[in-house]
């Protein structure tokens, strides 16, 4: 198959980029794979680009470069096709509308895959007939604004398939009753680390992720105060960059000082190579109030660390088998987090047993295995033929009406607006 990914920005950093690179690299072993990046602001991708995958861009934002298009007049006008409900709307424009539209109208691929809601909407509405249209959801439907959910209900019926990273999110999409749209849950993949797994003998708890309120590191630091009271020989390292907005790092720093934990809890900053940090620990902690998937949980497990995680929606409970390869504790509860950590700190044999189980069970996230699941979805749709999804304006109108009926007045207004826009651009 010829498979084409549409990505916001392949040259930046982030979970979606990493996950797309992993998948594209695996698929490229057997298929013709390209990644089309809407934007390009660097010469080279920040993350290592997958081997054997063609990478190109639609809009050049390399400042001081000869092809810079950031000052194109159309790039200064707000996007109309790219939905307003997508948080990246302000970065999109009439220029992106035109370039993405033209790309999808002429695309020479068997399968086209969108990697965020705004791009999935483009794919649903503008892909030329005969191409299988897949929309990936890397976050969660319930986490989106009402506006975006309306836009999704309105446009996604013209997709062939939606893939989510959790079963819970797949259920949420199925509840939208998008007729004829296949919904599959396929988790993110994590490659086998290039380092030997952790020995499990160090007295170090490791956590990793951007320092933002949703990660609830305040909860982890407070819980660790209880750990230190019992086991002053253990320490906690939190890896991750500070938030660009707000000052979570400063707040955590003050909390550490207030609790007198400056000899035990360390804010490590950004880690270039997280695997090299996981293996120094013997236990990992996640205390988020929400995890769309829980990439760091899988990463830690693949490095041989059992994870104590809050049982928050949606990912952790689909990754951790509580009491077998890690612990799920009540979300938002300091005492529960402390008890979970101490249970594994105080019992070396239990910790080592769970570490081994974590190493074994996390193999199911190996990129080859995950790519096979995606490949099966693409292959079945391709074999069936994509014509069904692209039967022309009549079918499109039918889906639009259905989406509108589902989402009521707001979507109706949206539909009216979109018909108007169609009139204008025709």
């Amino acid at each position: 198959m010829h498979i084409s990914f549409l990505l916001h920005n392949a040259y930046s950093l982030g979970g979606t980029i990493r996950s797309t690179f992993n998948l594209a690299g695996e698929l490229a072993r057997r298929h013709d794979v390209e990644i089309v990046s809407v934007f390009r602001h660097h010469d080279e991708p920040t993350l290592p680009a997958p081997e054997g995958v063609r990478l190109r861009h639609l809009i050049d934002l390399r400042k001081n470069g000869p092809g810079y298009e950031g000052d194109h007049p159309d790039h200064l006008r707000p996007a109309k096709v790219f939905p307003r409900g997508d948080g990246r709307h302000s970065q999109y424009s009439r220029l992106t509308d035109a370039r993405i539209g033209a790309h999808l109208a002429a695309i020479e691929a068997d399968v086209v895959i969108g990697t965020r809601p705004g791009l999935n909407v483009h794919i649903a509405r503008e892909t030329r007939p005969g191409v299988v249209r897949v929309g990936q959801e890397h976050l969660t439907l319930t986490g989106h604004s009402y506006r975006l959910r309306s836009e999704i209900a309105h446009s996604y019926p013209q997709l062939d398939a939606i893939t989510t990273v959790t079963r819970a999110d797949a259920d949420a999409y199925r509840a939208l009753r998008l007729r004829g749209v296949r919904v599959d849950a396929v988790p993110n993949s994590v490659p086998t680390p290039r380092v030997q797994p952790a020995s499990g003998e160090s007295k170090l708890v490791v956590a990793a992720g951007r320092l933002t309120p949703v990660k609830r590191y305040d909860l982890l630091v407070r819980a660790f105060a209880q750990v230190v009271a019992v086991r002053p020989d253990w320490r906690l390292r939190i890896h991750g960059a500070g938030d660009a907005f707000g000052n979570e790092r400063g707040a955590l720093r003050n909390l550490i000082d207030d609790l007198g934990l400056y000899n035990h809890v360390f804010l490590m900053g950004v880690a270039g190579d997280l695997d090299g940090e996981w293996i120094k620990g013997s236990l990992a902690a996640v205390t988020s109030s929400h995890e769309s998937f829980g990439m760091t949980i899988v990463e830690a497990m693949r490095c041989g660390l059992p994870v104590v995680s809050t049982d928050c929606p949606q990912g952790p409970r689909e990754i951790i088998d509580d009491g077998v390869d890690g612990r799920l504790v009540e979300s938002g509860n300091v005492d529960a987090v402390a008890a979970g950590l101490l249970e594994l700190i105080q019992d070396d044999a239990l910790r080592l047993r769970m570490a081994k189980a974590a190493l074994d069970s996390s193999r199911r996230f190996d990129p080859a295995a995950i790519a096979e699941r995606h490949e099966a979805v693409f292959g079945e749709l391709h074999a069936r033929g994509a014509g069904d999804r692209s039967a022309g304006p009549l079918r499109e109108g039918l889906h639009r009406a259905r989406g509108a009926a589902l989402d009521g007045a707001y979507a109706l207004r949206h539909k009216a607006a979109s018909v108007l826009r169609k009139g204008q651009t025709a």
Binding site: G52, G67, A102, A106, Q196, Y262, L267, G269, G272
Partner: protein
């Protein structure tokens, strides 16, 4: 109309080769480079900075198919400072290397025997530009700091001395930076044996008479057995730059805020900042 700007960049043809590093608990480092050995490949450690003080060349020998390995044993001296890591074929200056996997788990809680003659620490890490460098410390004797405690306007430091003996009158000196010659001395207690020491440094004398925006006091251990002063430092782990990670609370003393901090070389100092009123 062309819809896309075609660009030839296919795959990961990153310019600089990557090198994996593994540290052992004695201070030795192993470097693994993915390359073939058709020419004489050398791993070159080159002293970084304005006055390049030297070069250590380590032969790269085949360790597996397509893998070359160089070893820097703990017994080979690497002067204290920052060393760039380069790959050289033949006699050329070579090219800088990107860090691959760094397995530094053996460094996390290094505990050399208390009678260790000299302390050699080498921590490989990517510098700001992303290229690999090795930060080296070579100290004999060495005074390693551990936990810091705060009770009232003072700091209590626990540490361990390596490579020297305590006399009966061990002390710690805070020496004011800037050539004024001001020194403040407190006794260090060495009861624990095995090189352990602890001292409490009251803040008031450090802040007394503050006539500048800031004063920086460097802390030195005087073992007391005729041994010269030893700079206090924290180097026996895997963290090359302590300053932003090992952070301690500030305490009000007179019209100043006093707090201990680690310098760029991971030496322990105390800063006194004037409080604007």
């Amino acid at each position: 109309m062309t819809t896309t700007a075609e660009s030839p960049d296919t795959g990961s043809t990153s310019a600089a080769p990557r090198v994996d590093c593994t540290a052992d608990s004695a201070g030795g480092l192993t470097f693994d480079v993915v390359a073939t050995s058709d020419t004489d490949a050398t791993l070159v450690l080159r002293r970084h900075g304005a006055n390049p003080g030297g070069e250590v060349r380590l032969p790269l020998t085949p360790a597996a198919e397509g893998l070359l390995r160089a070893v820097l044993p703990s017994t080979v001296d690497l002067a204290e400072g920052l060393w760039d890591v380069c790959l050289s074929f033949g006699t050329g200056p070579g090219q800088r290397l990107q860090p691959g996997v760094r397995d530094l788990r053996a460094l996390v809680d290094r505990e050399p025997g208390p009678d260790a003659e000299r302390i050699a620490v080498r921590i490989p890490y990517p510098v700001r530009s992303g290229e690999l460098a090795v930060r080296s410390w070579l100290r004999r004797p060495h005074a390693e700091t551990g936990t810091l405690g705060f009770e009232g306007p003072s700091v209590t430091v626990q540490g361990r001395l390596y490579g020297s003996e305590f006399g009966p009158d061990a002390a710690v000196e805070a020496r004011l930076r800037g050539g004024s010659g001001r020194v403040h001395r407190v006794a260090a207690s060495t009861g624990g044996g095995g090189g352990d020491f602890t001292f409490t440094l009251p803040y008031a004398p450090l802040a007394d008479g503050l006539d500048a925006k800031e004063w920086l006091w460097d802390l030195w251990l005087l073992p007391g057995s005729g041994c010269p002063a030893v700079r206090l430092a924290r180097i026996l782990d895997d963290v090359p730059l302590k300053q932003a990670i090992f952070v301690y609370p500030g305490t009000k003393a007179g019209s100043a805020v006093v707090r201990p901090y680690y310098t760029g070389a991971n030496d322990l100092s105390v800063r006194v900042d004037a409080v604007r009123t």
